[in-house]
Amino acid sequence: MARLLIVACLLAIVLSLGSALVHLVRDKGESQKMARALTVRVVLSVLLFALLMVAWWLGWIQPHAR
């Protein structure tokens, strides 16, 4: 379950990054959409890092070396 959540979060991050690339190509610097998509990317990434730490703390996942 934790692994699924982590991979889903990573996919959402990739999607927001991809969305920012589309706006980079299409909007030509004139809109806020690219900056907003990248903000979503950063927020999701911080959440993913927090999720990793919480999942480890709850004993759901373990790193390869301890």
Binding site: R41, V42, P63, H64
Partner: protein, 293 residues
């Protein structure tokens, strides 16, 4: 190339005349690859030729990008040129995604298929019987031959976690700089952009420390079987990308200090910022799949 009349710049697609940079680029690439090939074939001059090639490449990048920056600031580029830059960025990123997909794919294949097969999983039981060893498929592993001997992997809660926090912070600082540029807040832009490339160089410095630790205390090397030969290329190529990204951020920072870019005219910033987010996301993938899952 400086002779193009600026009065017609917005109407015609700007094409530089008599630029020496493409041929310098070709010669430098040929010299670099030739030097590398000679080195691999134990030709004594190989490393020197490779160094010369890399020096020529750096000269070419500095010179060519300098020309492009001056042309851009001289408003020689119209909307069509801008579009071609953005399309170029998209295809460059496509090649980067394919590049990292190859390395992540190799890691996935080794972990999910080849190592379990060598351990006798599924229909490959006969392989294990014929080989007649006691290899049990686990990960991390250097394979049935124990190539490179006993090794320990780098713990996630050491430098890798610190480096993840550093890159995530740099992701935040570049985002703040991006919003500041769009809002015309130049001082905030300059401060947070500087913080971003400094964090990037700090990441590379700590990554170098991690490698020293791996080689000296963990016996984890490039030659440590399948683990070493997936771990080092993935992390090293990522580190190389962070280095390039931080250098590009540094150049963009100098341009910001010189007053380049406006809230609606800043493709170089956008391209570098997006690239930085990309290397950040690649690291997140690395951190998860190499150190955790």
């Amino acid at each position: 190339m400086a002779n193009a009349p600026t009065s017609t710049a917005s109407e015609k697609y700007y094409v530089p005349h008599g630029s020496p940079w493409p041929i310098i680029g070709s010669v430098s690439l040929f010299t670099t690859v030739g030097g590398g090939a000679m080195w691999l074939n134990h030709v004594h001059a190989g490393p020197w030729i490779l160094t010369l090639g890399i020096a020529l490449l750096v000269f070419m990048f500095v010179g060519w990008f300098g020309v492009v920056i001056r042309e851009s600031e001289g408003r020689l580029y119209n909307a069509a040129v801008d579009r071609s830059f953005r399309m170029g960025m998209m295809w460059f990123i496509f090649s980067e995604v394919m590049f990292f997909a190859g390395f992540f794919g190799a890691l996935l294949y080794a972990r999910q298929f080849s190592v379990p097969w060598l351990g006798g999983e599924g229909t490959k039981l006969l392989t294990k019987v014929i080989r007649g060893d006691t290899f049990e498929a686990t990960w991390p592993s250097n394979g049935p031959g124990h190539i490179g001997g006993e090794f320990r992997v780098i713990p996630a809660f050491g430098l890798p976690a610190i480096n993840t926090a550093i890159l995530l912070t740099s992701g935040m600082t570049i985002t703040i700089a991006h919003h500041a540029l769009k809002a015309g807040k130049r001082q905030v832009l300059n401060i947070f952009l500087a913080a971003t490339f400094l964090l990037g160089f700090l990441f590379v410095y700590l990554q170098a420390h991690e490698y020293i630790e791996a080689y000296t205390t963990h016996n984890l090397k490039l030659s440590t079987g399948i683990y070493g030969s997936t771990f080092f290329p993935l992390t090293a190529f990522h580190g190389f990308h962070v280095t390039i990204g931080a250098l590009m951020l540094l150049v963009v920072w100098f341009r910001c200090l010189k007053g380049h870019f406006t809230p609606t005219h800043h493709f170089a910033f956008e391209g570098v910022a997006w690239y930085w987010h990309f290397v950040d996301v690649v690291w997140l993938g690395l951190f998860i799949f190499v150190y955790w899952l």
